[in-house]
Symmetry: C2
Subunit: 408 residues, 2 copies
């Protein structure tokens, strides 16, 4: 398992190179390509303020077919008007030129500061260099995974292998997170306005039609990338895409393996989303909030999200402070009615509130238990069947340091 990587699925090559776009000397151009165009699907930010690569990407992926992904970090190409659109298109054209296929078979991606035009000379040189550096080794996967990062302190990768009819099918992915993280991505993209730059790129060698890929992707994203937030600031650039090479000998269909494949994809996306929470800007721990007993999954997710979005809650988690009233009241911020008298809360496994009243617990012991890599809250808000889990991190002074002086 642990040896699997982004390029383990057959038919993929990738590269990550340094083009000097980022201030710090690190990979900032990533290229991921299939040997031939194949079924693909992508979800995009639903922020009405969305970047040029989102507009171009939506248009390119409509065909349900892609050859590859070309991206840069260090500049978001957002709020850049027509020139921004032209630059995103040009990235695709250069990628096609150096890696095969045509421009519209490429999904462009950018992440970084908003409101600056791409330094196209560096970008062009970078993509050409990436085209020459393409390969399918673990090292190539690693170079690509690092090219997509911004304030992330570590690369994020996951992969899973299943067997369908005696043949192996592999699903793998990489992503970035860290800040401006509150994705609410949709296949339709920016239309219903919704929040980070989350970039996630997934590969599989499964033989799956684009329609099935789309369904699987939206479902997986709903339980993973769209269920993680750092600051709940939905980015202009959020994008998650899956490309399938179809090179596995397994025949995946509705009755045969599709469920398994969908589960594997969800697992990979969840692992990636968890890595985003764990590596949030200034994060020292993951905070996992589950809401049970809501009227619907959507209600449960909205309430869990509201708890995770509260800076007050996140500061308490940072301080190992069992200030559970913030969690219970935080659920109320979602705008969904529930009866506090029918509500209970388990914090790090300890029941602190039930039936409208506090439970006796040892403050010091609970605080000590919260001093852990993961803190969990399970809030039951009634007798409904809706359950949902959202992941976030704590809120530290380091977050302020990082974000009070990122641009200048």
């Amino acid at each position: 398992m642990s040896d699997l990587h982004l390029l383990s699925p057959a038919g993929f090559r990738a590269a990550g190179v340094r083009a000097g776009i980022k201030v710090k000397n690190a990979n900032d151009i990533g290229l991921l390509v299939m040997d031939a165009a194949g079924p693909a699907a992508a979800v995009f930010t639903t922020n009405p303020v969305h970047a040029a690569p989102v507009v171009v990407g939506l248009s390119h992926v409509k065909s349900g077919k892609l050859r590859g992904v070309v991206m840069n970090s260090g500049c978001a190409n957002a709020c850049t008007g027509k020139q921004g659109l032209a630059d995103a298109e040009e990235m695709c054209a250069i990628a096609a030129g150096v890696a095969g296929g045509v421009a519209k078979e490429y999904l462009p991606g950018s992440t970084g500061v908003i409101g600056h035009l791409l330094p196209m000379e560096k970008v062009r040189t970078g993509i050409v260099a990436a085209g020459r550096a393409l390969g399918n080794s673990a090292e190539h996967a690693d170079e690509f995974a690092r090219a997509i990062l911004t304030t992330d302190t570590k690369k994020k990768a996951a992969a899973e292998r299943i067997v369908v009819g005696g043949h192996e099918v592999t699903v793998a992915g990489v992503c970035k997170g860290a800040g401006m993280i509150g994705p609410k991505m949709s296949l339709k993209g920016p239309a219903v306005p919704l929040h980070a730059t989350m970039l996630g790129y997934l590969t599989t060698d499964a033989k799956v039609p684009a329609g099935a890929l789309r369904k699987m992707l939206q479902s997986a994203v709903g339980m993973s990338f769209n269920a993680v937030l750092i600051d709940d600031h939905m980015s202009t650039n959020d994008t998650a895409a899956i490309l399938s090479s179809g090179r596995s000998a397994a025949r995946v269909s509705a009755g045969k393996g599709l469920g398994l494949l969908s589960e594997a994809l969800t697992d990979v996306c969840r692992s990636l989303a968890y890595q985003i929470a764990a590596d949030g800007e200034g994060a020292t721990k993951v905070f996992k909030v589950t809401v049970r007993g809501a009227r619907s999954v959507a209600d449960a997710m909205a309430m869990a999200r509201a708890v995770c979005a509260s800076p007050l809650v996140k500061c308490a988690i940072h301080g190992n402070d069992p200030n559970w009233g913030r969690i219970v009241s935080g659920a109320g911020l979602a705008g969904i009615p529930f009866d506090q008298m029918q509500t209970s809360l388990l914090l790090q496994g300890v029941e602190v509130f039930r039936g409208g009243v506090p439970r006796a617990f040892n403050d010091g012991m609970l605080s000590a238990a919260m001093n852990a890599p993961e803190v969990t809250a399970v809030l039951t808000v009634g007798g409904g069947k809706g359950v949902g889990t959202v992941y976030t991190c704590d809120f530290s002074k380091e977050y302020v340091t990082i974000n009070a002086d990122y641009h200048t």
Copy 2:
């Protein structure tokens, strides 16, 4: 003007005393009473998780008549079940006993940590002491204003005097803010779930029926307390109330002075709300966000609120960082569609974005201009008539310090 205070309107007395509820040695019981019961109105938190004094207060104010307000700081009496309700009722009964009238003519209020029962022995002793200390001097107003504070670093007060038909009418108020601030209060209280503990108490000697008071209060609150946020965490206890003694000789009616009075009330509430933003936990400056060109006032307010709620935006403001992309994208978090190509942004008076593209500006000069007690953003999102302004503060490391260790 500057000599006016909470007790300048005729017919009011108040007191603030130390009952030992707060850890720190400071006033924590406040009592505000009129010489006789009079027209009153109040708005309450719309969080489904709401405190006992909110439940009791809603019930008491239904009559449109109050004698006074009795409140404590240091404990929110929230998530405290039936005992909490009984305690809030008892506070009113004791107040009536020591200051006149009957229990249900008192509006109870509490602010502090959630999930603890009130230390009723201290509360009882405190209310009795407050009853003995009642008076109508500026010092009495000051003692009351300090009794309602929690993490606030200074008291918040405002007052205005108008003349109607040759006679003076005074409107005055005090409030608290600091943390858990994101009020969305309504006359109906917790029903439509909505966010601080914001407590605001207003006095007037105007002769106004309760119905008119209610309308004026909801309108004023919409443009003031409900338009300020620190962390956008709506509290369990938010309450703003106005009591009128009717002692002014002016005859206020629909055609005569009611508009003036309503404006004065709005001014007082706005001044108080501004003071909340300026004294937000860890705040070093006020950030004022105006959205213009929206389809409605509600849309404009929602978009301005979304910008103010973003920790990313607030950190940039803290760092004097003209990272305007966060502001523009922040408006998109409200879930309201707008065309980024028709959008422009003035940051501290400098146009940084128009028609989908960045404007040239001097980064260093703008950053220097942002190093001020107030930073303004004016975002035009289209050609609509909707305009709205929301106030917040910057987000500093001090906020984390305060909130990572408040409970324990």
